[in-house]
Subunit: 247 residues, 2 copies
């Protein structure tokens, strides 16, 4: 039924960040199975919830095979595109915000060649700013202002439905330049931060917010794989010179 | 957010036939509220479940205002169009079966003038043949054959999302960020080259080709105006530290 090929379906990583409720984890897994996405990753889940979801009657092989990570950075390290979801329109977002339908078309294209992550935040607060800083851009499900916040399992279902929904865009050719993996981009971010610290750009009091700002700044570059290597070399050299030590 | 007018939203009756699980009733109501459909009808619900759903913490006004009916016939009596949902492809259906995306467009048109009902069957068996006989046609959510059956709350969320989805949005491009002027990009390139020279990255013998390579590298970043300022600040600071002097 899906317009995505089995290879494309297999390239998506659905990432649940800090889920608290076993029913929601189970519901997310069910929607994934309904639409043919089988790779679930869970970041820092409430341990009891994750255990309960896995041991529930009828828990799927998908849930058993779910991978657990300690941070968003690790969970998306192999992904060339990292997309966050939000149902909020009013928050001051630092990211490009795309409508679900349009964002899904962009994701389909990227899935044609590279692993791609779709992030969902915890039930109560959604994705935290720190999680968002790992995202290239965000998708918004068009809920109404008066009641924007969706149930996690339903948000996953709607997003994955939009990804498999029949559309001519799905048959479009993949982009030409091979995008860099998130792990490489994060390495570059770490080097940049090191260089900023060593050169006195960073104010220690605001280091945390600077880190998020820089992470977003680097993601906005949308570096292709071939270029990230060059930039890594450049910053390695600069870092050596400014005395931050090569990481 | 919705492409439907308030009048159109108000003309849809979401009809749950014989729901058994209070959590599912609550989830259906939540998705309705998310997408702006406020008229819930329940046919012959499992009484305990309906009571529990209504008395749950955070149960909405929508759920309190839900109307209860003894039969599908009564629940859809005022509707000019009655559409059933199914996630099954194999059942021998006597009805026209439409893809969700196409069916939703037909429903939108009918909602422009007349009350329309969208039916969801019970969790275990979906809509019974008797229920189906009240439907003009059916919509199928494109789940995969190996795992077709959706959770009720998620099926409601996906169907209603498709009803409010802006079908033109998929083809619209987001506003692209204002690109940086070439002069700014060249200033950044000059600073980068200076930093590379000062840190020993550049081999004097190949400096000319390095310069061209770096110029292309920086152009490929396609920097927006707001970001080029930040990068200029970063390199100004690094340059000061590596001793190249601020240009």
């Amino acid at each position: 039924m899906s317009t995505l090929t089995p290879e494309q379906l297999d390239r998506l990583r659905v990432v649940l960040v800090s889920p608290r409720n076993p029913l929601n984890i189970g519901a997310a897994a069910r929607a994934m199975s309904n639409f043919g996405f089988l790779r679930l990753r869970v970041v820092n889940p409430y341990a009891v919830a994750f255990r309960e979801a896995r041991s529930a009657v009828g828990a799927s092989a998908l849930l058993e095979a779910a991978e657990e990570f300690g941070s968003v950075a690790e969970a998306v390290a192999d992904c060339a595109l990292v997309v966050g979801t939000t149902s909020l329109g009013h928050r001051e977002l630092q990211h490009p915000l795309r409508k679900l339908a349009y964002g899904a078309r962009l994701m389909q294209r990227r899935l044609a060649s590279r692993p791609t992550a779709l992030l969902f935040g915890c039930e109560k607060y959604g994705l935290a700013n720190h999680d968002l800083s790992h995202c290239h851009w965000l998708m918004r499900i068009p809920t109404r202002e008066e009641h924007g916040s969706m149930n996690l399992g339903q948000a996953v279902a709607v997003s994955l439905y939009e990804l498999v929904r029949d559309s001519r865009a799905a048959t479009r050719k993949p982009e030409s330049a091979k995008p860099a993996a998130a792990g490489e981009v994060e390495r570059l971010t770490a080097m940049l931060l090191e260089a900023l610290k060593a050169s006195g750009y960073t104010n220690p009091r605001t280091a945390a917010s600077t880190e998020e700002k820089m992470r977003r700044l680097v993601r906005r570059l949308n570096l292709p794989e071939r270029d990230v290597e060059i930039w890594l070399g450049i910053f390695r050299q600069i870092l050596w010179k400014v005395g931050g030590g090569a990481p």
